[in-house]
Amino acid sequence: MDEYPKQYLYRQIVRAKLFIDTNYASPIELDNIADAACFSKFHFVRLFKHVYGTTPHQYLINIRIERAVELLEKGASVKEACFAVGFDSVTSFTGLFKRRICLSPAAFQRQRELRKKEIAAVPLKHIPNCFAEKKGWTKKSNFREIETVDRDADAAR
């Protein structure tokens, strides 16, 4: 039994959204999603926009850019990220990326790379001191301990 009115409609719209979330990398035709959700195309776009505040097409682009961000963070090249998330032109990918992230994919990747290196080198810079101290992560205890352990291990070799 339905828990609330229009539950069927909501389930179908959510199903369509999850379909985009899963299949964003393939060429997705709006007609197919609308058909799968058993709506006419216009009715579907209207309902989708009502629920998510954006059209299915814009949503698809947003998801692709979000996934591209993740791939760039993992070290994929701009070209690899572009094609892996379903765009077929690096130029249009770069343009759409810039409009949303306010940086080119390459500049974004450089920025994230720098931050990652800094976190690895000086993690405490990214942790409020109260936590670090409470958890014994400050240099006085934990790091010295680890260094000592490493030194002992080296000496044992």
Partner: protein, 146 residues
């Protein structure tokens, strides 16, 4: 020295902790199910990891997913007691907000999130309750239209 004439008392909350039974599983829950973004994920030595996530539209509020294990913030007995309480669903750590509660409810349910209360119109607002993978519970409300 005063930077400007604004109030210089506390101005913002920028970190909050949620105690979790397993950081890896919490990562999956908060990132892959709830759709939160990873802010900082730093290894701090053996068995110690600083992991913070942010709600998608609130990148300045870091939610620290704190492991309840001895040596982190707890001693042996406190960790055992805390794990027990969290698993039992003792703690409600906050109220999340979404734009459309029914759609969010359906999506999270489809992703396997356990709801202890389906969306209901209450006198204070439209609300549902769900649990995270550790047992912490949250209220999920719909943004009020102006």
């Amino acid at each position: 020295m005063l930077r400007d004439d604004r109030c210089i008392m506390i101005t913002r909350l920028n970190h909050v902790s949620i105690f979790v039974l397993d950081q890896e599983s919490a990562y999956d829950f908060y990132v892959n199910k709830l759709g939160f973004k990873v802010h900082t994920d730093a290894e701090m030595g053996p068995g110690k990891r600083w992991l913070t996530v942010t709600p998608p539209e609130q990148p300045e509020l870091e939610i620290s997913l704190m492991s309840i294990s001895p040596g982190m913030m707890f001693d042996e007995s406190s960790a055992a007691a805390m794990r027990d309480l969290v698993a039992k669903g003792t703690f409600g750590f906050g109220v999340f907000e979404c734009n459309d509660l029914l759609a969010t409810y359906e999506e999270l349910k489809a992703k396997g999130v356990e709801f202890t209360k389906p969306p209901k119109q209450e006198f204070y607002g439209f609300e549902a309750l769900f649990k995270d993978d550790s047992g912490n519970w949250f209220s999920l409300g719909q943004k009020k239209s102006d």
